[in-house]
């Protein structure tokens, strides 16, 4: 893992909203470290996985779990979503050991990577956790849920950006055995809870026929403790809305019809998920972290390489996938917006800005 020196520690903004007036935006520093997911100038279907063992200084890949300038606002948005729909956090009863595994992994990682924000002191099973940005200091007995205000999984994932799902492994199969899911790209934890690997991936087009899920499952069944892996996934979202859940689709679906040539730069966002997978040591479960980043088109085009490349990728995305991602309707407007930024010049290798 990267040393703390290599990890970005931006000032934490507060009061950004992901609904109603949508006041969320990225600072120039946040734009430059955005995890732009495209390695090539055309669309390629890929489920490429790499070791999650750090990355360039200051990048989102450097820490185990990235805490950025939107931390306070995202934690508050999660609180609001849970208040309206407590079913967004559910863990099946047999996963209590995995809940403690999760708490340990997150607390140790955050305290190591962000010592200015978090600290953990342990004396046997007597633990004290301090989260200074949120003003939390709790002493508790590791292994005793009654000593925390919520069950351990909910307690800690309320304090971290991004969604988390918990997967038990039995008879060479992974199951959706729990999760904290408040900033998802249109899937329902409440509905998918208890499903096996093939069932919860059921709605994803193309990859089943390509055998991708068979191979990915086989790989993950052998995932080792302390050898986390990562990949990037993407879609687009209208407005910087974190909660694009199916539960609330009747509220946000209409946004897709609101895109015009005048507002597309501000409204259309590239939504990227930094997904990391970790084997948990006691329970042998897997924790899946889905860390969501949003960038508007007008922010994206401040990086000329990304503007050129995204224009080319979006234009070559097959219709079936554009439909699945829900962007087929407004794609032409986005392409028209990006076209003037694509002068046909070559783009440099890699995903970073020039």
């Amino acid at each position: 893992m990267a040393s703390p020196m290599r990890i970005a520690t931006p000032p934490l903004k507060s009061g950004e909203s992901f609904r109603d007036d949508f006041s969320y935006s990225n600072s120039p520093q946040a734009i430059r470290r955005f995890p732009f997911p495209f390695h090539e100038d055309k669309y390629m279907y890929s489920v490429n996985i790499e070791p999650h063992n750090g990355g360039p200084a200051g990048s989102v890949f450097a820490p185990a779990f990235d805490i950025d300038e939107h931390y306070l606002s995202e934690v508050e948005e999660r609180r609001r979503v849970l208040e309206e729909d407590p079913g967004r956090c559910q863990v099946l009863p047999h996963m209590m050991e995995a809940q403690w595994d999760t708490l340990e992994l997150l607390m140790e990682s955050l305290a190591r990577d962000y010592p200015q924000h978090f600290s953990l002191t342990t004396d046997g099973d007597q633990w004290t956790w301090e989260n200074r940005p949120l003003g939390i200091r709790d002493s508790f007995t590791f292994g005793d849920p009654a000593t925390l205000p919520q069950e351990p999984f909910e307690y800690i994932t309320r304090q971290v950006q991004g969604d988390f799902t918990l997967h038990g492994q039995r008879d060479n199969m992974l199951y959706m055995d729990g999760g904290m899911v408040t900033c998802q790209a249109d899937w329902s934890l409440d509905f998918d809870l208890g499903m096996n690997w093939y069932e919860w991936h059921g709605p994803v087009p193309k990859a089943h026929q390509m055998g991708i899920f068979d191979r990915a499952l086989k790989f993950l069944l052998n995932l080792q403790v302390e050898r986390p892996v990562r990949r990037l996934n993407w879609t687009m979202t209208i407005n910087p809305r974190m909660d694009t859940s199916p539960e609330n689709y009747h509220k946000w679906g209409i946004d897709r019809a609101s895109v015009t040539p005048e507002n597309v730069g501000e409204k259309a966002h590239l939504r990227v998920e930094l997904q990391t997978l970790w084997r948990l040591p006691r329970s042998n479960a897997i924790i899946f972290s889905i860390r969501c980043y949003l960038i508007s088109m007008e922010e994206l085009v401040t990086i000329p390489k990304w503007a050129r490349r995204f224009h080319r990728v979006l234009g070559t995305l097959p219709d079936e996938l554009a439909e699945y991602k829900g962007l087929i309707g407004y794609r032409p407007i986005v392409l028209d917006y990006l076209a003037p930024f694509d002068d046909g010049a070559e783009t440099s290798p890699g995903i970073g800005p020039d």
Partner: protein, 203 residues
């Protein structure tokens, strides 16, 4: 043996049902049905070895064809007719709580019924491999609205009005065994009031 197959194409959580086969490893065959499911039990019973131990629970007097007579004539240690599915589920639970190792559960009937009875088996500690299910009779679907979580049994159309939230929702092929339901989702969220043709497709 998986209790059902998953399709190769489309949404892979949608169950595909095949005629149930006797589990050769079973020491006791616990057979449960409603409506047209009686036919599936009769066919299954024919395939059992002569010395097989079995019992039958049947929800009689439903809307569909009634197989009570047919099942009463089968040679079986215990045959019970029920007139309330809650009581049938209770009887099933009592049986499973005192059941010997090697008991296998077979359930046949509507999709709503089979997954509710399978859930009873799971709650009594059975594994997925010990429970066999087969849909017989209507293809009407049990559906849960993803927005308000209201459950509706016996949906036969591609689109219906959710009695919980009043929205026009479309039935997807995405299926949860835990809930025993397909998922429905608002059909006109992106263009309010614009509905595709409503067709009866699950009869």
């Amino acid at each position: 043996m998986p209790i059902y197959e998953l399709p190769e194409d489309g949404i892979r959580s949608r169950p595909i049902y095949r005629p149930m086969q006797p589990d050769v490893a079973a020491r006791f065959h616990l057979m449960v049905a409603e409506g047209a499911g009686s036919e599936a039990l009769a066919e299954l019973h024919e395939k059992l070895p002569d010395d097989a131990r079995c019992s039958i629970h049947y929800l009689a007097g439903g809307d569909g064809p009634d197989g009570s007579d047919r099942l009463m004539q089968l040679r079986c240690e215990q045959t019970r007719l029920h007139f309330d599915d809650g009581q049938l589920a209770d009887a099933l639970r009592r049986h499973l709580e005192s059941a010997a190792m090697g008991t296998r559960l077979y359930v046949a009937g509507s999709e709503d019924f089979i997954w509710r009875m399978a859930a009873v088996g799971i709650s009594c500690g059975m594994s997925e491999e010990e429970i066999h299910v087969e849909r017989r009779g209507s293809r009407a679907r049990p559906v849960q609205c993803v927005h308000c979580k209201t459950r509706v049994e016996g949906v036969t159309t591609n689109i219906y009005t959710c009695p919980g939230c009043g929205q026009h929702v479309t039935v997807r092929d995405h299926f949860s065994r835990r809930l025993g339901a397909y998922q429905s989702v608002c059909v006109d969220a992106e263009a309010p009031g614009e509905l595709p043709p409503i067709e009866e497709i699950y009869r």
